[in-house]
């Protein structure tokens, strides 16, 4: 072929490509229009109807958005006909205002995040799924036994149905400043330590540091108090699931809970500590307090904060001190994904069985091993037992090498954090009182009576 011919041929090819390109661009809108006009139920991807499922979860920042984008992409790569799309990205506290409004107005997206302690409150917004609906028929090899059963059972209704699958969870633990314990020659907290030993240790830290370091940062928050009470053998719910805390037993426990503050072994929190959240964590991270209670989900953030902080110290993890029965009975908290009760309404005309199957596939991938491993590597405590080593490995790579033994010990006797369907109001009522109890202007019994009387309306 001569140069002219090659040139002419190249020109023709170029023109042809340009023509094809122009035609494609011209036809694109009509192609899109015709695709969107496909009749409901039309099979286009491996015999499956493409479906876009909206989802919503609280976000704390760009890292969270990146995580969930990754997980949404994971669902799509596993099942190309399923697309997961954000409905909204509210902050944590906004989410719990937005969700009930959406449930009440039947405008919630298809896939919703929730927490085990809110199972009773928001059950009406979720599709209740039987165990058999969630088993391997949708995702080959999927099994409910892969989850930590405590984490899973937190989403069970009284009839055994599940409203969500857990993606993370954790027992409440005692985080401590190892450097301070070693500096003052105190034995490091172990699985066998008790509350009397804990009080002795925090008093020693306060005394030996000449008041420079508080032994403990007491959290003015309902969850932590209930964990303490549970560890001490008390039951805050009656067998029928009603709150009952206005008893002398709980008054005594509350007095014990606030004792470190009253005795000057822990700082007095500001009244807004429960709203701003994690005030005690900030005290601990800043090196102002030697111990505090938190879940493993915060450990990676603690490590980052301590590494970049002024007071750099070695982090230790311990179970909650053993209660009078010789066990560390902590409450299990966690988060998970469920399917909206309005799923079918959100997709009119779509085959219901197929739609439900797709939604189940989505939440099973969002809580599945691949996702869990990815999240564990980013610091979320995975709800699948087999994936825990990923989390321990991540934490160890940051220098906390001895977390496995205390966490496994804490998990042994941990119980799901159960709640009533009036929990939001109950929490707020208690949280509004506790700083007054710590400060001395409100008696423990009065605070508990107030909480009992102001549980709020059922959600």
């Amino acid at each position: 072929m001569t140069a002219e011919l090659r040139y002419a041929s190249g020109r023709r090819a170029l023109k042809w490509r340009l023509l094809k390109g122009a035609a494609s661009i011209a036809l694109l809108p009509s192609l899109v229009a015709s695709a969107s006009a496909l009749p409901a139920g039309a099979a286009t991807t491996n015999g499956h109807t493409p479906v876009t499922l909206s989802f919503e979860i609280w976000v704390g920042g760009p890292a969270d958005i990146q995580t969930w984008d990754h997980d949404a992409a994971l669902v799509h790569s596993e099942y190309p006909w399923i697309t997961i799309k954000w409905a909204a990205q509210p902050a944590y506290s906004d989410y719990w205002v937005k969700l009930p409004v959406e449930i009440a107005s039947n405008t919630e997206p298809d896939i919703l995040a929730t927490q085990n302690l809110r199972t009773s409150s928001y059950a009406s917004g979720f599709l209740a799924l039987t165990g058999s609906q969630l088993l391997g028929e949708h995702v080959p090899g999927f099994t409910l036994s892969g989850f930590d059963q405590g984490a899973l059972n937190g989403y069970r209704l009284r009839n055994g149905d599940l409203i969500a699958l857990p993606y993370d969870f954790g027992p409440l633990l005692m985080f401590y400043n190892k450097t301070v314990f070693e500096k003052y020659h105190l034995p490091l907290p172990s699985n066998s330590w008790t509350w009397p030993q804990f009080y002795k240790d925090i008093a020693a830290i306060q005394k030996d540091s000449q008041g420079a370091i508080y032994g403990y940062a007491d959290d003015p928050f309902f969850d932590e108090f209930l964990t303490f009470a549970t560890d001490m053998g008390a039951h805050y719910l009656t067998p029928s699931g009603q709150l009952r805390i206005n008893t002398p037993q709980f008054a005594k426990l509350l007095a014990e809970y606030v004792a470190p503050v009253k005795e000057g072994l822990a700082p007095l929190p500001p009244a807004n500590a429960a709203v701003t959240g994690q005030w005690n964590r900030q005290q601990w991270e800043a090196g102002a307090a030697a111990t505090y209670i938190d879940g493993p989900w915060d450990l990676i953030n603690d490590i980052a904060a301590v590494k970049s902080g002024i007071e750099r110290f070695q982090i230790g993890v311990a179970p909650l001190p053993n209660g009078p029965n010789g066990k560390s009975s902590t409450l299990l908290s966690g988060s998970g994904f469920g399917i909206s009760k309005d799923l079918y309404k959100n997709h009119p005309g779509v085959n219901r069985a197929e739609l439900l199957s797709d939604a189940i596939k989505a939440i099973e991938v969002l809580t599945g091993p691949q996702f869990e491993q990815y999240n564990a590597a980013r610091g979320d405590f995975p709800s699948r037992t087999a994936d825990l080593p990923y989390w321990y490995r991540t934490i160890a790579s940051y220098g906390v090498t001895d977390a496995a033994a205390p966490i496994n010990y804490a998990l042994k006797d941990a119980v799901p954090y159960a709640a009533t369907n009036r929990w939001a109001g109950t929490e707020v009522a208690f949280n509004s009182q506790i700083v007054g109890v710590m400060e001395g202007s409100i008696t423990p019994q009065a605070a508990l009576n107030y909480t009992q009387d102001n549980q709020g309306a059922p959600a």
Binding site: V97, P100, V101, I103, A104, Y122, S124, G125, P267, L268, P269, P270, A271, N272, A273, A274, V275, T276, R422, A424, G425, E427, V428, N431, S432, Q433, V435, G436, M438, E439, S441, I442, A447, Y450, N454, G456, A457, P458, A459
Partner: protein
């Protein structure tokens, strides 16, 4: 003359006047249509976003209206519960009145004082005005977060300053039931006085200089000039500022929410804070609406009283 006749309604028998009258009526109709067209967007907005929700909230207040679940008519039971059973509502009402009673005179006093001071202050006056107004422009939530750090016990700037100057530990601003309300009031005055400062500055500048000259010639003292010249002549601004300040004071919420979460106990729970908790933590929308209506009635009553009393002390003519 024609105008006088027209105004007196005596032009009926005059054909020329009739033509003029018809022209005027056509013009009036045209003006009315134009006015309506200009008012319509605002009117629709007011109707859709204010009037309808306000009426709806009155209806909701007569219901037990959970966010999720069945609602049912309860008549005035929500109102009865507010005044007979709800001790937090009583505390919130008292706290709100405490806030209004302390915040309003402090706000008016500080802004008026600074406006007067700035009048006689030539260098950097504009810069100072801007600086005083900046807190009004910054988000209240951000202000509250900063002040919560300032108020921190033991390490906060205010506590350190008290310790440095007086050698004693300052009060526990955000944990003590006795100090939380003063803490909120101080922060609110700092945040809010800039608006009234601008208002009073404008009022003071509108006072003709010749009154001051005349007073000086008569040998009036600074106090007498303020009492008998400035104050009467800026009384419309003062009245306007006071009305708005009282209304906004009754609606205090953000400071209580961010600085103290209404606590400790109920020592800084305000009416709007309690309304918010009932609506968005307890999801009791009927009850929350009842609180809103009680607040609305209180604010309306006090505003009407102020409107009535203004005749005694507000001077519109210069």
């Amino acid at each position: 003359m024609t105008a006088l006749v027209e105004r007196a309604g005596l032009a009926g028998s005059n054909p020329g006047a009739l033509r003029g009258h018809g022209h005027r009526r056509r013009k009036e109709r045209s003006d009315a249509r134009a006015a309506l067209a200009f008012l319509l967007p605002n009117g629709i907005g007011f109707l859709v976003f204010t009037l309808v929700p306000v009426i709806a909230s009155l209806v909701i207040s007569l219901y037990s209206w959970p966010l999720i679940g069945t609602r049912h008519f309860v008549g005035i039971a929500n109102y009865r519960a507010l005044f007979t059973k709800d001790s937090t509502f009583r505390a919130a009402l008292l706290n709100t009145l405490y806030f209004v009673a302390a915040y309003t005179p402090l706000n008016i006093g500080v802004s008026l004082g600074l406006a007067l001071w700035l009048r006689g202050y030539s260098r950097g006056r504009r810069l100072l005005r801007v600086l005083f107004f900046v807190p009004v422009l910054t988000p209240l939530v951000a202000d509250s977060v900063v002040w919560s750090l300032l108020y921190t016990n033991r390490n906060g700037l205010i506590d350190e300053a008290v310790h440095a100057v007086f050698g004693v530990q300052g009060p526990n601003w955000l944990s003590s039931p006795h100090w939380v309300m003063p803490a909120i009031i101080i922060m609110s005055v700092w945040q809010g006085f800039g608006y009234n400062l601008l208002l009073f500055t404008a009022g003071i500048h509108a006072v003709p200089e010749l009154y001051y000259d005349a007073a000086r010639v008569d040998g009036a003292s600074a106090w007498h000039v303020f009492r008998n010249v400035t104050l009467p002549l800026i009384s419309p601004s003062l009245f306007f500022g006071t009305v708005l300040t009282i209304i906004s004071a009754f609606q205090v919420f953000t400071q209580a929410y961010v600085l103290t979460a209404g606590g400790p106990g109920t020592s800084s729970t305000t009416l709007v804070y309690w309304l918010f908790e009932k609506a968005f933590d307890d999801y009791a929308l009927g009850y929350a609406s009842a609180i809103a209506w009680v607040l609305f009635v209180i604010v309306i009553a006090i505003t009407l009283l102020q409107m009535r009393l203004q005749r005694r002390w507000v001077h519109y003519e210069v």
